[in-house]
Symmetry: C2
């Protein structure tokens, strides 16, 4: 089949390469001409605008958007919409909030699939996990492409109607935060505990046969292998953690559904905490211990 791909960043380019490798045709567009040229070198047909891409696809267009969540998605859809009718299928493979995806599906002149994509750039060779929401017929139409972009037929699934794909991806990410923090707590206790341990050896031993083996634990092993110095298993890696939007969405949704998610919340809070030098609550606790107990107040240097 033929697929249009809009957005040729790291993730979009993987969609192009895996789709081509499976024997399909790709028409590729990006605002960056160099990215288009590079995709053309790899075997895609270059397009010089969204309109050009739509023209080249003809009737029954199948188009994959891999542009950053937010305004870029809306801007692209604005350009694309005049060229679409309901027989056309648009896949949003980005990390949009599921409610925005439902709105976009309603506004779109084509048929819209929201597609949560997990695995990240590291999964170029193995393929992604794809969580898809939207009409069954549109999902079925795209199965050959999903087979190619995912790890295979087991690596994608229709979760439900519009929004369900990005909903499941949102919860996936919430779980991911908690898993990362759980491993982090364990390794921190081992690093600061009562034995001198080689954390790479620990992670390697766990990854081979232990109950807690996982891909994230393999990434821990790799991190210790690449980052460890004589006195620190993570070398100069800082304790600042970026990101947080999908975790925030998960906790907000859990509040709305009245489902307690204390671990996911705590893992999110740890991220906020990591960016916050000099927490006000701790400064107040420091000062209050003086208030009632006349304990010395640790004070900032100028």
């Amino acid at each position: 089949m033929e697929l249009g791909v809009i957005g040729l960043g790291r993730m979009g380019r993987i969609v192009v390469d895996r789709t081509l490798a499976a024997g399909h045709d790709v028409v590729a567009f990006d605002l960056d001409d160099n990215a288009v040229a590079s995709a053309a070198d790899a075997g895609a047909t270059p397009a010089d605008s969204v309109a050009d891409l739509a023209d080249r696809l003809g009737a029954d267009k199948r188009i994959w958007l891999m542009v950053p969540a937010g305004k870029a998605v809306d801007a692209t859809l604005d350009d694309l919409d005049p060229h679409l009718d309901e027989d056309d299928v648009v896949v949003d493979g980005g990390n949009s909030h599921f409610e925005r995806s439902v709105e976009r599906a309603e506004a779109c002149s084509g048929t819209y699939l929201d597609c949560g994509t997990s695995g990240g750039p590291a999964s170029a060779e193995e393929g992604f996990s794809l969580m898809v929401g939207g009409p069954e017929w549109a999902y079925e139409e795209l199965v050959p492409v999903f087979d190619a972009v995912a790890t295979g037929p087991d690596g994608h699934g229709r979760m439900g109607p519009s929004g369900a794909g990005h909903y499941v991806k949102m919860v996936h990410n919430g779980v991911e935060y908690a898993l990362m923090q759980a491993y982090g707590e364990g390794f921190e206790l081992l690093a600061d505990g009562r034995y001198e341990l080689d954390l790479e050896t620990v992670a390697r031993t766990w990854n081979n046969g232990a109950v807690i083996r996982s891909w994230l634990l393999e990434l821990c092993e790799e991190a210790f292998m690449k980052e460890a110095t004589a006195d620190d298993a993570l070398g100069d890696v800082d304790d600042y953690v970026a990101g947080g939007s999908t975790g925030t969405w998960t906790v907000k949704e859990a509040l709305e559904q009245e489902v307690p998610v204390p671990l996911i919340y705590q893992a999110l809070a740890e991220r906020f905490d990591s960016r916050n030098e000099g927490r006000f609550s701790r400064r107040l606790a420091n000062r209050l211990r003086y208030g009632f107990g006349r304990h010395e107040v640790a004070r900032r240097e100028d």
Copy 2:
């Protein structure tokens, strides 16, 4: 080489079978005659007492204990000790507290290795992850057996001196509690959230290429596959969770080391909570809302 195995329950029997399969000799003993006879059928030499097992092994004994942590270990060591000298190596493959293992290593007339064993009965075919503490020479002596019982050479490691094996296993289990609870929170939100989702399909899609893929997530997928009914993804599975000792040890050790482990603690607390019908704190909150707000008090039926 020749290995004595004491304790032929599910885990001990796997040690016997994997050691035999690797071409080594096994002398086997258990308090249960039937377990000994069954191991003999599989190719082990039966022993009718701890003393008999020790006699049959001759000099430079290598003995694996796979008996329940606690008094059974001490009782076995009491029987065994008169037959040991420091050239003999005893492996404790159970889930003992690391401080008890250090004490036992000091008291033992032989050389003692504490060996945390992860993977459970499910790992009979693939092999375990083995975290070993104790003298380097004794670990090296047992490597052929560790290679056989673990997934292979990568599935075992010497973590450090006496106690380090059970210490790392303790922390492993603490992390395990938090991982289980993290997946649980995610699936609970999906089960009670705003889409009708098939959790087996979600788990299957995640297990193929997603960042959070893991063995525990494969066990989630299997649980949904085997337990789901028309109206509940876990059928009649109750929300009572047993166990908790290694998680408790982990949190206590973290308190002693002043390492915060909020997720591990919370996961442990969820287990305690699961066994507690009618939490006093919730009953008090219920009554206090009447106290200040005259909100109706929900009351127990007789």
